[in-house]
């Protein structure tokens, strides 16, 4: 049992807002009458009763209005309808202006549910000339002829570059931020600054290795191999043999090089100078 809410207990699903308001009105009146709680079914019944009363008043009001050849009812029509139904109007004025009446909140504006478009795939074909325009248009092309099942990716150059640049920048930013937070830093300012921190430089005893063999970019090594292969294919007649010779030669030359010769064993009698 819930405490009397001004607004009726939400029923799940879609509730008719008109009914919701009516329910609120009934609940308000009940509260005025001194009730502190109600059963859901009782409220429902009372609401039902109120609704049928109101709709009956409305229906006969319209009938009176139409009887008098009007399309819009006037207050006289309402009075006639009430009289017709045998409802006395004596207390009505007093009821309307009673003190501490419960104000019912205006029903919330319902948001227009967006109409989902029917999935449109491809362009619809227009009618051929001999078919008049008012006839229904063709269905989507994929329903009766071949079409791709995937959407074309964005091919606009500018957008791609933009995206790639943004991605690269984000990665770099994250990386530098990370390293600025995890390692020692240098400050550009005299005051403490968090925004422009410089990662302090670490001593590197063999600094030439990093400097001469950079890791900032990765290049494929294949190109040259490819060109070599090509060359070999081009000079197929006789030439490859020559190349072999040259290879042999260079190997021989290497063997001949005094620096690559095997080291001699020490002489028995050490000759100085």
């Amino acid at each position: 049992m819930a405490a009397v809410p001004l607004v009726t207990v939400e029923t799940p699903g879609t509730v008719d807002p008109r009914r919701k308001t009516l329910g609120a009105a009934v609940a308000g009146m009940l509260q005025e009458a001194g009730f502190t709680a109600f059963e859901k079914a009782a409220l429902g019944t009372l609401t039902e009763m109120l609704q049928s009363l109101l709709s009956e008043i409305g229906r006969s009001t319209r009938a009176y209005a139409e009887l008098a050849y009007r399309t819009e009812p006037v207050s006289g029509d309402v009075v006639m309808a009430l009289v017709d139904m045998g409802i006395s109007m004596d207390g009505l004025q007093a009821f309307r202006s009673r003190p501490n009446r419960v104000v019912i909140t205006a029903p919330a504006q319902t948001v227009d549910m967006k109409q989902h478009n029917v999935l449109q795939v491809g362009d619809k074909k227009s009618h051929p000339a001999h078919i008049p325009e008012h006839l229904p248009s063709f269905p989507d092309t994929h329903t009766y002829c071949f079409s791709h099942t995937y959407k074309q990716p964005v091919t606009e150059y500018e957008a791609i570059r933009e995206k790639a640049a943004a991605q690269k920048r984000d990665i770099e930013r994250a990386l530098t931020k990370y390293s600025a937070k995890t390692s020692d830093t240098q400050n550009l300012f005299f005051t403490d600054d968090k925004e422009f921190l410089l990662v302090s430089v670490a001593p590197h005893p063999k600094s030439y290795l990093d400097a001469l063999m950079p890791r900032d970019q990765v290049f494929e090594e294949e190109e040259e191999r490819k060109t070599k292969k090509k060359r070999r294919i081009v000079n197929e007649e006789g030439e490859p043999i020559q190349e072999k010779d040259k290879l042999n030669e260079s190997q021989e030359g290497e063997l001949d090089n005094p620096y690559l010769r095997p080291v001699k064993m020490p002489r028995k009698v050490k000759t100085k100078k």
Binding site: E156, L188, V199, V201, K206, L212, M213, F219, V263, K264
Partner: protein, 1035 residues
């Protein structure tokens, strides 16, 4: 004078053995033995002088049997005597010159004096060899031999510990006793015992490698049969990787571990240089082998020695690098050229150095011309000429061969580089700083006959080698100015003595100022050529022919004028009538015919432009006065890069004066866009355009200059505001791509700040730069982008107090700039690029931000980068930023930090470069008062050059350069005037001048056979001889 010298020497060196056994990397010591075989040319002499520095000599023997006494004195341990309070350079230079002369091997002197006792006199007999053996050791050498032992974990091999010899000119004496001059050539036997994982690379042919008895070390035996002088002997020891050149088996390359792939990529062009020179000189390479060793912490890019070169490891580069390749190939070409001239053909004396270095550079430039193109070559020559002119006008004329002008003091090589500033009238600066001082004009004249001449020399030398065994024949292997002129006369039949007198034996250059008027009535050009600056520093009068080229409507006309007076008025008849109406192509000097838009030309004059001495046949500075439209025609249509460069320089001058027109802008734009034009000219015109645009900023409309060109050339097709993905296969475009952002960043709007549009453009370049599809590395491009950012920074509108500057006080633009700088700099820590080019540029950008008041001036950032184990290029850049800081708001700690670097840095090159950049950009100039200018500084510098750098004369002379830049030749103002006694001292220097040749004195003594020994301490030159004597070590 030279002949006298030869006669003076009572002995001649014929063979030397050098054996180093204990090379210890941990303690950095070397133990060695050397034996010199001397052939006496007299029957008796009493002293043998050897050059030897910082060595500890244990024993000297004659013919292995007789141990003899010796004395040791090094004048550079303290250049000026202790008690002196003088602090002026004149005094120091005088002492230094005397000191250098007293040990000058060219006149047979040295630091180590061996006294031949009377009981040994019987060993001396003319023609009979005398062997002098010296046992010595070196301990932690300050200079001459450099040990590189990185402070990492691991064994010496893993650390890649290595050592190598180096030196400034003739400095072999720093690592072994020898006769340290170029003229004393002999054959060599060299033995080096090293750990078994090391390789010892040295001069000559490797005979064999033998293990020592304990099998833990091995000995390398080298034999050098070609007579070679001691300065051309070198050694490198390390765990090198060995690579035999696949094209020429006689070449072997050595590098440190892990660098082999780079070395393979770098060395693939080396054989071309060999082939080129052999073909050019039509002789074979004179030695049987050639070795290249790449070492870390090298003293300079290259040092050439007989059959080997020691190169900087930083010359190595992979196939992905563009900019470094040019430098590397030039250096290697020079190495090979120096094998021919410099190593094989050595010079007679220091004063003949211009010949060997000149020829070697000339050969190298021919190689450059062949491989990099004529434009590159000519531009280079032009650039060198400009440098020389600039130098001469600042410091005085360079004399190439000072030996034959007797009134000028003959300086030893060790003092020459610094003494230039300090000699009184006769300042000369030899080509130490600018080693190709002689090459440009040299090339101009000997252009065609040079190779013939050199060829002749080489063949002479080869003959000389064949009859070895008789050392007298070896004199052919030494080139001196005299023999050179003779040889040229015999080969070509031309006498070049006049030429030599004019350009070699005299310093300075000619300077012409040319004005002209076109006289329409007579159809002549009235020309005034004035030499108005005669008497100013470095400039001298020229009498002789001068070539003038006039480009007229009908073609180029060449005139040779005789210049006789200071002001020469000449009249030159024009060939073309001015007929503007006929549309006709205009022939150029190259024979091409081009269409020109002649509407901007003076309607009456047929003269398009004029050039003076266009082929740079002499050392000259030329000022041509032409109206701006003529300069523009010259820039646009002349095919010669030097003419175009000169035109751009002229436009620069005009822009500086504010005389700019929109035609000028159009011309520069046209050149920039012209793909036929040499890329360097295009880059220069971009920079010129910056200046022109800034001068006409008030009425500039449209997009900023060069923006459209950039978008056209490098923008993507569909969206020109985004830069295309990088593709550096077109080198021209690559260089322009690098230049344009920097040039554009120099643009300023009416508020003297960089236009917002340009800044946005730069930021977009940072954002969109994409190198993923490129075959080449973009590290130099990124560095130049960073330079562009630095160029875009203008002074802060509000100058805050440095301590209150925070990241919140920065303006929006500066924040963006700083974001990029920090991002790039931080990224380099994780992903370093080739040679840390980006880091170096970032440091510069930070300094620019500081200088303009956007950031507080803090030196600790730069100090961290300048500290020892960082990469050398980064260190140099950091040092430059620190130096830049000094003049404006430098503290004494910063200055002290830099001087400490100069004094004690482990890398000798950094010591020199620190001083060099200080001297280039001194914290204060003479006469300016500055808070750094105090007695402390003077004393520190003085001690550094007086006694701090006994061994490294390059560093000592660099200190002198710095001292000169700050204090000139006089006593620094902050030092109290010296006492009267010392003033007296100045007039009467403690060392008497050089005049009486010392050896002659000894000779006289020799004539009288005196048995009693006379200590050489009475020698007038060595007043301090008694200081350190005898068998114990002196460092």
């Amino acid at each position: 004078m030279k002949k006298d010298r030869e006669v003076q020497k009572p002995y001649k060196l014929s063979h030397q053995i050098l054996s180093l056994t204990g090379i210890n990397f941990v303690r950095q010591t070397v133990i060695g033995y050397t034996e010199l075989t001397l052939i006496p040319s007299k029957d008796s002499f009493r002293y043998i002088w050897l050059n030897c520095k910082q060595c500890c000599v244990y024993r000297v023997t004659l013919n292995d049997t007789l141990e003899v006494t010796f004395q040791y004195f090094d004048p550079f341990l303290e250049v000026c005597p202790q008690e002196s309070k003088q602090r002026n350079l004149e005094f120091l230079n005088k002492s230094q010159t005397t000191g250098a002369l007293s040990v000058d091997p060219e006149i047979g002197r040295g630091e180590l004096v061996i006294i031949v006792p009377s009981e040994a006199q019987h060993m001396i007999q003319e023609g009979k060899p005398l062997r002098v053996g010296v046992e010595f050791s070196l301990e932690k050498p300050q200079s001459g031999l450099h040990f590189v032992v990185p402070s990492t974990e691991g064994t010496l091999g893993e650390k890649a510990a290595h050592c190598f010899t180096y030196g400034h000119e003739n400095s072999a004496r720093l690592w072994f006793p020898c006769i340290d001059t170029w003229s004393e050539v002999c054959t060599w036997r060299l033995e080096f015992t090293v750990d078994d994982f090391m390789t010892a690379v040295s001069c000559g042919d490797l005979q064999e490698v033998v293990y020592t008895q304990d099998m833990r070390r091995k000995t390398f035996h080298y034999h050098l049969t070609t007579p070679t002088c001691a300065p051309n002997i070198a050694l490198a020891v390390g765990p090198f990787e060995i690579y035999v050149d696949p094209f020429m088996n006689e070449i072997t390359h050595f590098c440190l571990p892990q660098l082999l792939p780079l070395m393979k990529a770098t060395s693939k062009y080396l054989h071309e240089a060999f082939e080129f020179y052999e073909e050019l000189l039509s002789t074979r390479y004179p030695y049987a082998c050639y070795k290249q060793v790449y070492v870390d912490e090298a003293y300079s890019d290259l040092h050439s020695y007989a059959t080997m070169s020691i190169l900087d490891v930083n010359l190595l580069c992979s196939n992905r690098i563009i900019d470094q390749v040019y430098q590397t190939r030039k250096t290697m070409a020079l190495c090979v050229a120096q094998q021919f001239f410099g190593c094989f053909l050595s010079r007679q004396a220091w004063s003949d150095a211009w010949l060997t270095t000149g020829i070697a550079h000339y050969l190298m430039s021919l190689y450059v011309k062949k491989h990099f193109g004529f434009n590159d070559y000519k531009d280079w020559i032009h650039h060198e000429l400009q440098e020389i002119i600039e130098y001469e006008e600042r410091f005085g004329g360079i004399v190439l061969d000072p030996s034959s002008s007797p009134n000028e003091p003959q300086n030893g090589p060790n003092v020459s580089s610094g003494s230039t500033h300090s000699g009184s009238k006769d300042t000369f600066y030899f080509s130490v700083k600018n080693p190709h001082a002689c090459s440009p004009h040299y090339i101009g004249v000997y252009y065609k006959k040079a190779h013939l001449v050199f060829n002749k020399h080489l063949s002479l030398a080869l003959i000389a080698v064949t009859n070895k065994g008789h050392p007298a024949g070896w004199s052919h292997m030494l080139v001196s100015t005299e023999t050179f002129t003779k040889a040229i006369f015999t080969v070509t039949g031309k006498d070049i003595t006049v030429f030599c007198d004019q350009w070699v034996r005299q310093g300075g250059h000619a300077k012409f100022n040319m004005k002209f008027l076109f006289n329409r009535k007579r159809n002549i050009v009235e020309m005034t050529i004035e030499q108005g600056y005669i008497g100013e520093l470095g400039i001298r009068r020229y009498v002789g022919p001068l070539v003038v080229w006039i480009q007229e409507l009908d073609g180029t006309f060449k005139h040779t004028l005789q210049i006789e007076h200071q002001v020469s008025k000449k009249e030159i008849v024009c060939h073309s009538k001015s007929r503007r109406n006929k549309k006709k192509k205009i022939p150029l000097c190259t024979g091409e015919e081009v269409d020109m838009d002649l509407s901007h030309l003076d309607a009456d004059s047929p003269v398009l432009w004029l050039r003076l001495d266009p082929d740079m046949t002499m050392m000259r500075a030329v000022e041509v006065e032409q109206p701006d439209n003529q300069w523009q025609y010259q820039l646009r249509h002349e095919r010669d890069v030097t003419a175009q460069t000169e035109a751009i320089n002229a436009l620069h001058r005009l822009a500086r004066l504010g005389a700019v027109t929109s035609e000028m802008r159009n011309t520069l734009n046209a050149v920039l866009e012209n793909e036929q034009c040499f890329y360097k000219i295009r880059c220069r015109s971009a920079h010129c355009l910056t200046q022109v645009a800034n001068a006409m900023v008030a009425n500039w409309n449209g997009p900023p200059a060069m923006m459209q060109i950039f978008r056209k050339m490098f923008g993507a097709f569909s969206c020109p505001n985004i830069i295309r993905q990088h593709d550096f296969t077109s080198l021209q475009n690559y260089y322009i791509l690098k230049t344009l952002p920097v040039a554009m960043a120099g643009l300023r709007n009416t508020h003297k700040s960089c236009p917002q549009e340009v800044l946005g453009f730069l930021m977009d370049l940072f954002k969109y730069s994409d190198n993923s599809k490129n075959r080449y590395s973009d590290n130099y491009y990124r560095a130049s982008l960073m330079d562009a950012l630095a160029a875009a920074i203008s002074p802060a509108p509000v100058q805050h107090d440095p301590s209150t500057i925070t990241s919140d006080t920065l303006t929006e633009n500066i924040r963006r700039v700083l974001t990029e700088v920090t991002r790039y700099l931080n990224l380099e820590k994780m992903l370093p690029c080739y040679k840390y080019t980006v880091t170096a540029s970032c440091l510069h950008a930070i300094r620019v931000l500081q200088k303009n008041g956007h950031l507080p001036t803090k030196s600790d950032i730069f100090k961290a980068y300048a500290a020892y184990p960082q990469y050398i290029d980064v260190r140099v850049s950091a040092v430059e930023q620190l130096v830049d800081m000094l003049s404006k708001d430098g503290h004494r700690e910063d200055m002290d930090y830099l001087l400490t670097l100069a004094e004690t840095d482990p890398v000798p090159r950094i010591r020199y470069l620190t001083l060099y950049s200080l001297a280039k950009n001194p914290p204060f100039l003479m006469g300016q008062s500055h808070k750094l200018d105090n007695e402390h500084l003077v004393e520190r510098l003085w001690n550094l050059m007086n006694s701090g750098q006994a061994c490294d004369s390059l560093v000592r002379c660099a200190v002198m350069d710095l001292y000169y830049a700050m204090y000139g030749r006089r006593r620094p103002a902050c030092i109290p005037a010296s006492e009267p006694a010392l003033v007296l001292n100045l007039r009467k220097p403690p060392h008497p001048p050089i005049l009486p040749p010392p050896v002659i004195q000894i000779k006289e003594e020799d004539v009288v056979p005196v048995v009693k020994q006379e200590p050489p301490s009475e020698d007038p030159f060595d007043p301090k001889n008694e200081v350190k004597i005898e068998t114990q070590s002196f460092q």
